[in-house]
Amino acid sequence: MLLIHCPYCEEARPEVEFAYGGEAHIARPVDPSTYSDEQWEEFLYIRSNPRGRHHERWRHSHGCGRFFNAVRDTVTDVFETTYKAGEARK
């Protein structure tokens, strides 16, 4: 069970309090109608799925309820950092 630092609660809490939210920094287009089918496919489905540093979203669903971002190594599962939604990619 991962131990995850919530940047809002400023506390490390067990994984069962959190819900994973998929890859981070995939912004929904302001006007999706301008997207081609290929661009829309990429937004919906294409994921980087790296071996190593992964930017991802978590929600402290059984805590403060906030979404935040994290950088985690997908080989060791070790978190490098977590940061608030809206902050620049780390």
Binding site: L2, D37, E41, R47
Partner: protein, 417 residues
């Protein structure tokens, strides 16, 4: 290849089995091949075998970064079934089930396919509706699947608790009698041995480090830890590592890799005669030939390549098992392990051509790839041999994520109300 038979086994017994040759010779890579398969799991080895056996392409190499069969082939719970809902899925998985039948004889390697029956339990009215839909669709597709009452479920699988005291009482079940299990390692070894005998080179401990494309964009071969190997046809069958290999070819894929755990109990004498699956309770179990209860656990929620999952997944899994089979609380968990499963957005595989000429892919089997092994191998081989997908795997293209023609079995079973 020395033929395997009871007769030869007895013969060899009298000379301490010194006459058995290598299952497959360990080959150094040649400069070029007519076809290369990346990934020596059951699917990749199967593809090599069928390329050589059915499609006449024998100058084939299977390249594996580790040891053959060391990935998800050797880490799954060995369930075989084909009672899928959609026509595309039913045809795909039933193609595999038809090949499973007789595979031991075809490969001259006992892969221990055991048609023990796969019983899927319904626990609420929605499950019943969903399973009936499957059963009727399967019947009209020629795939066996039948409805059992709770009492019939109990008779088929005596450890099952069908009493109303359980949190999710059993309302019935869908039984596919042709479903069952096979010995996972033997499948990889059997294909490797048979492919090798047909001239396929199996090259282990040789990670692919790059994919070379020509000026026209077409595949020219693969860079490996042991040098460049030329081929105009490369099939990637690398499960959890597919995203990484595809990136080498400049392709981003709709895949994510998740940890999936499984576990076995200590071996006991036969107690559990079939495979039982319960999607509502999240329990998947069979008993191996050796006597271990083989139990599938869930995926962790996050992507990972660590082959290691969290303990609360195991807690939930065993709670689910003992909810349906309360006699097993004193059984003991012997071994847990994790695999990396590659999951697509619709949880159906991608099996066919890619935008790169000469590059083919077989991936995205998620938690259910083992059952498809012979079919996936055959269809990847067909696609590589003809540069066109077979009609069975044609729907499993990449285009579906653009045009919206998804094949979403899990969504079809989704609960809402």
């Amino acid at each position: 290849m020395k033929r395997f038979s009871g007769f030869n086994l007895i013969g060899e017994a009298f000379r301490s089995h010194q006459g058995w040759p290598e299952h497959w010779p360990d080959k150094a890579p040649k400069a070029s091949y007519d076809a290369i398969i990346v990934g020596a799991g059951g699917h990749g080895l199967g593809a090599a075998y069928y390329l050589a056996k059915k499609y006449g392409i024998t100058n084939v190499a299977v390249i594996e970064k580790g040891w053959l069969g060391g990935g998800n082939t050797g880490r799954n719970t060995t369930i075989i079934r084909s009672n899928y809902l959609y026509d595309e899925s039913a045809h795909l998985y039933d193609h595999a089930v038809k090949l499973w039948d007789g595979l031991s004889q075809e490969l001259n390697y006992n892969i221990m396919y055991s048609k023990r029956g796969v019983l899927m339990l319904a626990h609420n009215v929605h499950d019943v509706q969903s399973f009936k839909r499957h059963i009727h669709a399967n019947r009209l597709n020629g795939v066996d699947n039948e409805w059992l009452t709770p009492e019939e479920c109990k008779a088929y699988c005596p450890p099952l608790d069908i009493s109303p005291r359980t949190r999710h009482p059993v309302l019935g079940g869908a039984l596919q009698r042709r479903g069952g299990t096979a010995r996972h390692d033997s499948v990889a070894w059997g294909y490797a041995r048979a492919a090798s005998a047909l001239g396929v080179d199996i090259i282990q401990n040789c990670a692919v480090t790059g994919i070379r494309r020509g000026a026209d964009g077409a595949i020219e071969g693969v860079e490996t830890e042991r040098g460049f190997i030329a081929s105009r046809r490369v099939g990637v069958s690398a499960a959890g590592s597919t995203s990484l290999v595809m990136k080498m070819a400049g392709l981003d894929f709709p895949l994510e890799s998740y940890p999936l755990q499984a576990l076995v109990s200590e071996p006991v004498k036969p107690i559990f005669p079939c495979v039982v699956m319960s999607n509502t309770v999240h329990a998947y179990m069979s008993q191996s030939d050796k006597g271990e209860l083989v139990i599938g656990a869930g995926t962790d929620q996050y992507t990972s390549y660590s082959q290691r999952g969290a303990f609360h997944i195991v807690e939930h899994t065993l709670a689910a098992i003992c909810e349906i089979f309360p006699i097993f609380t004193r059984m003991r968990m012997l071994r847990t392990w994790g695999g990396i499963v590659d999951v697509t957005p619709d949880r159906s595989p991608i099996l066919g051509k890619t935008p790169v000429k000469g590059l083919y892919v077989n991936c995205g089997w998620g938690t259910g790839g083992f059952k498809a092994t012979p079919g996936a191998g055959d269809l990847l081989a067909y696609t590589m041999a003809h540069d066109e997908p077979h009609k069975i795997n044609a729907p499993y293209n990449l285009d579906r994520f653009r045009n919206g023609r998804l094949i979403d079995e899990a969504a079809a079973a989704a609960v809402a109300h």
